[in-house]
Structures are given as C-alpha cells and as structure tokens.
C-alpha cells in the first residue's frame, strides 16, 4: 500500500516535471511579466509601512507615529470632499461610458458599408490618442470667453439667446462636471466601443433570423437579443473599470482650477498637492494611497458579489 502511494507520488512528480519541461517556452515567456509584477506591483507593497511613519525624504530616520497620518486624513474636510468627488465623478463617468460605448457600438454595427464603417471607427478612435493636456487645451479654446462673443460654445449660446454675454464655464461649479463628462466621453467613447463591437460580432446570426421570423423589429432585436448577449461583456468591463474608479487624476488635473475645487478635487489631485507639491509628506500620501486601495477593493468585491447574485457566478 505504502509502495503504491510512494510510486503514485513519484509518478505525480514526474508528471509535474514533464509538464514543466513541456510548457517551458511559456514559462520563459512569462518570466519578464513575473519580474515586472514583482518589481513594480509586489515589492512596492513593502512601502505601505510608511503610512505609520512621519516620513519625508530628508528625515534621517522616519519616526513611527502609529495611525496619526490616518487620523489627520479622516479629520480633513478637504480629503472627504475629494473622496466624495472621486466617487461621483468616476462612477457617473463609468456609467456614461457603458451607455455611450454600448450605444455607439450598436450603431456602428448597423453600418452596412464596410468603408463607411471603418471611417467612422477611425474617426471616433482618434481622440483616444490625444494626451489629456491637448484635450484640455481644445476644451479651453471652445469654452473661452475671449473676444466679443467668446469661444465656440459661448458664441452659439449667445446666438441662441440663451446667455447675454460669454460665461467662463470652466470656472462655473454647476458646469464643470458636465464639461468633464463630455471631455471624457469625447476622448474615450470610441475606444470603449472596440470590445463591445467584438462581442456584437460574436452573436449568432441565427438568433436574429429567428427573431425576424417571429416578427421582431430592429429595436426589439436589440432589446431581446443584442443587449442580453452583451450583458456578460458589459459586466466584465464594468467590474474591471470599477477597480480603477479611485485612480482618476490626469483628466481632472489638467482641467480643474481653484474656483471649482469643491466639485472637482479628487483624491489623486489632493494627494499630489499635499504629498508631492507641498512638504513632500510621503507618510501622509501613503496613508491616502492605502485608503484609496481599500475603497477600490470594497467596490470591486461588491460588484463581483452583485454579479454573482444576478448571474449565478462572479467574474473574479
């Protein structure tokens, strides 16, 4: 009996070795990825300890201060405003991105002419390749107040008698978020359609044929076939993007200003000002970073749990 178990273990070992040898090219290919993961994703985790220290680059020895950085963080009204802005801006933007990307993907899918379809795709993908600095510059120009009637937007609004004189929308609290959503959708919607277009193409034509025979029009086909078929992809994209909602920075940084801090300042811009621009307070910045990661984890876990409840299984 013992001999059988021993020979079984030996045989398993041999199998493992044989598998390793057999798939060795894949392990070799994976090695650079593993190194990058360790260097840039796992090793930095060791730096989390600095959240418990008073640490800036010049102090000879960081001073252990327990949870003081977290206490300072939780007492800061500006931090909570930034936290709330981050959630609102990111989640609304994420929902809009889902609606617009799926919608545009469906519309593009309906274009029959192959060349026209490619042209439209190319045009809407292009803004994705512009840097946020350029996008902010474009929006600043079209929203400008300079000249008799200001930029493009003000000129139109004045001609429509909706306003009497140019308004500097970028400094208007009520308008800033809308402008930010529009800039985000203009830049990223096209790119966001790629994955949904691929998914739409994968839906079996038999389903549409059957629906047509049953008398379903285009809209009903979309509602009863396309969207349910896309639901799996939508959920996966949604959950993956949910993990990134706390990471919003560049798009806000290039478009915000002190007049709209109340509605635009997000955790990353707050951390940048306090942690990097100010007194290089790295301990405090790390505390903010940990808080951000915990929230991201909660959001993703909640979304995954919800997905499990709705679909019977999660995606992670």
């Amino acid at each position: 009996m013992a001999n059988t178990a021993k020979s079984g273990a030996m045989s398993d070992k041999n199998k493992t070795s044989a598998r390793i040898i057999r798939y060795s090219p894949f392990y070799v290919m994976f090695t650079p990825v593993l190194i990058i993961l360790i260097l840039f994703y796992y090793l930095p985790i060791l730096g989390l300890r600095w959240s418990l220290y008073k640490f800036n680059p010049f102090i000879p020895e960081p001073v252990y201060i327990g949870f003081e950085n977290f206490m300072t963080l939780f007492k800061s009204a500006r931090f909570w405003a930034a936290f709330s802005n981050t959630l609102v801006l990111s989640i609304v933007n994420l929902c809009l991105s889902m609606i617009f990307s799926v919608g545009i993907a469906l519309l593009i899918n309906e274009i029959g002419h192959a060349l026209a379809k490619k042209f439209v795709q190319t045009v809407i993908y292009l803004p994705h390749f512009l840097s946020w600095v350029v996008v902010a510059g474009i929006f600043a120009l079209i929203l400008s107040v300079e000249g008799q009637t200001g930029g493009f937007v003000n000129t139109i609004l004045i001609k429509l008698h909706l306003i009497d004189e140019p308004v500097y929308w970028l400094t208007e609290k009520k308008a800033w978020r809308l402008i930010w959503y529009i800039a985000n959708r203009w830049k990223e919607t096209g790119w966001g359609t790629i994955i949904f277009l691929a998914a739409v193409t994968g839906i079996s034509p038999d389903l549409y044929e059957a629906a047509e025979i049953d008398g379903a029009g285009k809209l009903k086909q979309v509602w009863y076939i396309t969207i349910p078929s896309l639901m799996e992809t939508i959920l996966v994209v949604f959950i993956l993007n949910l993990a990134k909602v706390m990471n919003v920075f560049e798009s806000v940084f290039v478009m915000y200003n002190e007049m709209v801090y109340d509605v635009s300042d997000v955790i990353q811009t707050y951390t940048y000002r306090v942690g990097l621009q100010g007194g290089a307070n790295y301990g405090y910045s790390t505390a903010v970073g940990i808080f951000k990661s915990v929230i991201s984890l909660i959001l993703v876990s909640a979304a995954n749990y919800t997905s499990g409840k709705i679909r019977g299984r999660g995606i992670i």
């Binding site: 680059p57 500006r78 300079e146 500097y168 400094t171 002190e258 007049m259 801090y261 290089a280 405090y284």
Partner: protein, 510 residues
Amino acid sequence: MKKNIILKAATVAVALMMASSFLTACGSEQGAAAINDLPLDDTCVDGVAKPEKIIMMVDTFMKVENREVGGKDVVCEEYKKKTGIDLEIEMPSHNQYYEKVNLSFASGNVPNVIELGSTYYPNYSAYGALWDMTDAYESSTAPMKSIIDEQFVDALRIGDEGNKRLYGFPMARGNGTITYVRGDWMKELGISDPKNYDDFINMLEKFKTIEDCYAPLTVAGFINSESPYNQYLKEFYWDADPHFYYDDNEKKYVDGMSQPAMKDALKRLRDAYEKGLIDRQAVTNSTADCRNKFNTGHAGCFNYWAGAWNKTLEQNMSNLTKKGNEDVVKPLAPIVETQYVERPPTAMSITSKTKNPLGVYKYLIEYSHDGGEGQMLFTHGVEGENNGKEKTGHWKNENGKIVALPYFSSENLVEKVYYSPELTITEWNDPIEADHEVVNSSKIFRENSYMVPVPKTSDEMSDALPELDTVRKEVISKIVTGVTGIDDGIKEYETRAAEEIEIILNALNS
C-alpha cells in the same frame, strides 16, 4: 526644539569632522587659495581635497526655454579641462524640478549640489538635508570674498538671531517681476507712464478700447504659488501680503490675509475684474498664455521677470508681429502706491550626504564666482575657436572680439549658461556687454524694489501650508471674480483654515 538642537549639533559636528579629515589627509594647515592657480593633477592642495566628480541638479542650466542639447556638455568638458573634475548636470523639466529633488533624496541618489528657491531652502535646511557652509565661507581667502556683494550672502543666512547659518550660496540676485505694457498702444492712445493707481486704471481702461484686446491686463492667477505671493499684481496689492509676515508694529508674525491692507487690495482687484480690466481667464491662465496674449496684441499689460525677459519678449514680439523694438515692450516703473519685490537669491546648496562638501564648495561655488575664468565659464560658457558655432562655444567671434554667440539649438544669442550676467552678485569685469533692454528693465527694477527675506519655516508649517494654500487661493479667486463677498470670503478662509492658521502662527511666534 530638542530635535533641532540635535540636528544642528550633528550638522556642525559632521562639518567639523569632514573639514578636519581633509586637513589631516592632506597634511596641510594652510588656508584656501584660488583654484585657478592650482595644477590640474593635484588632488589635494591647500588643505582641500579635490572631488573627482560633482553631480549638480539644476533647474536652469542654459536658458530654460532653450534647454539645448550639447550646450551643457561643452561646458562640462571645459570645466573638466580647467579643474580636472567631472561635472554631471541633471536637469529635470522646469515644472517637476522640486519633485525630482525630493525623489532623489527619497531614493538615496542625492546630487552633490542642488539649487533651491527661497520657499524650499529653509525647509531643506531645517531637515538637515543641506551642508552648513558658514565656516567654509567665513574662513575662505578666495578671490571671491573680495568681490562678492555680502548682502546677498546675508540674505541666505537663516536660523536664530545671533547664530544665523548659511546652507546655500547665492547663485545670483533673486530678481523679480516688473510691469510691461505695449508701448505702441500707449503712443497710439496718447498715454504717458502711469504715476499712480488712478493713472494705471485709466491706462487699462483705454487699452480696453483697442481692437482685439481681450484683456487690458493679463495674469496667471490672483496669487503667486510661492513666496513672494503678491509679486505679479503689485499695482493692486500695494503693501498687502496674503502670506504670513512679521509685523513691526505688533512685534509678531501675523496672517496677511486677515489684515486691513488685504481687504483693500481685494477690493481693488475685484473692482478692476468687474470692469473687465483684468483677464477673465486669469484663474486658468499659465504664464505662457499671458506672454502669448501680450505678444499677439490680446493683452496690453502684464507683469513678468525684469532683465533678460525684456529682450526675449521683444524677440518674440518681433517674430510674431514684426513690430519688435524697444517702444513696443515697455517696462514701467511702479506706481507711487507700491514697489516691486525682489526674491531672496536662489541658493546653490551642497547636500549633507556629499562626501567632500568643502571640496565641492571650493572647486565649484568659489570657482564659479571668482570674477575670472570660472565666472566666465558659468556665465557665458566656453571661449570659441574663432568661428563656426558648431565647433565653438558661446563667446568670442572670428575677429577675436568677445561677444555672445548663438546657442547650438537656436539662432538666439546665448544669454546665460548658469548665472544671469545682469544678476551677478560679484563685482567683475564682464567683457560681454548686456543689451540695452536687459540693462534698462533691470535698472528700473532695482531702483524700485525691495528684497523680501527668506520665509521662516518649521516642520509644522510644512505640513500645514499645502492645505492652507489651497483654501487661500480658492477664496481669493472667489472674491475677485465676485462669487463671494470680501468679508464673507475672508470669514470663509478664517473658518476653513483655522487649524492651519493657528499651527503656523504658533510655530512662527514661538
């Protein structure tokens, strides 16, 4: 307090230890001599060991706008020829400079020499990041000592009264900003130089009538992002300072935002903004936007650096409008209600992790301020070889006349390599004559400005300032643009930043 004493004691001890180790190692007790006279192969002369390599992290080597490729290498090669020392210059992008300096300390790859503006200099020294060069300076017998203008060295002495220490050497004068106006507009409108605030407002109102003038006065924000916070809008601030300052009457530090002078300044700014005299896009403008508006005739007045920038503005104006002459970009003397403000000099500091700080001090700082070969190298670059800018450095033309030659990367003449010639702090015979515009705007500035001291700082202040800066900037912008009233705005500032104000005032007045 205890920490500070320990830090100071440690710094002094390290400095003494290093100085004594050099003397011991070199077996000499003589004072320092001019390094120009030293043979290149000496590694240890007059008690000071020659460093093999010096790493500098700089913000402005060569003119920032040019950031030319190759130029700094030529200077480093020449420095090596003259001193036998390898000079490595790290130049991060201008707007990331301090982030990179901080990261260099965090990563442990600390350069030997860094340059620090007055907002950062006291912080870095308080943390013990900088070498105390007081003794090195005091005991030096180098030629530099006899030609240096001591007031600029003194401006960088910080610490307790009676024991002020020097953690950085002035690169050059701190300089400051001056108001430029479109001289051609003034001529066209028949306006003479404004003498007082009413004249100034009158001038802006007339500028408003110029076709295509979007903003009679353009500015990038209503408050500067570092000390001096009021420098760009002195015609409106007058004697108000939105930062903390020492009040001679009250004999203590006060918060400038809560002073009556600040209320008056905000009222002037608000009125002018309401009348459309100040750029409506001031909040989102960058300084580059302001320069562009001025050059393209969309703004008639703005406040910018005195000296070399006068010439650059003219060159840009000339390229764009073909109107470039000294009448178009006109520097103004300040109105009677105020004066321009000069920053403390930028400090050239040796980091405390440098193994041979005394050597770096002597072979780089003293050498580059020697009033001769070193100063020429760090001001105008490398002497040319008769002709051809590709082959030569930055001065001496084919006739042997000493003039500025073009940069490698552009047709513009080299204005400076590291030290601006018009901002020199040494009395030396600069053979290259400065342009009339540079001299003129520098002269107007110097005759009408005062130098602000290096701001006092502390650990607590460093932590509290970023949050306070945010609230202050936000409130000032809201007041000026009419979103909130002056009293309400100041009340909002005092409420929201109450904790930070208290921390900072306690630290300053303790």
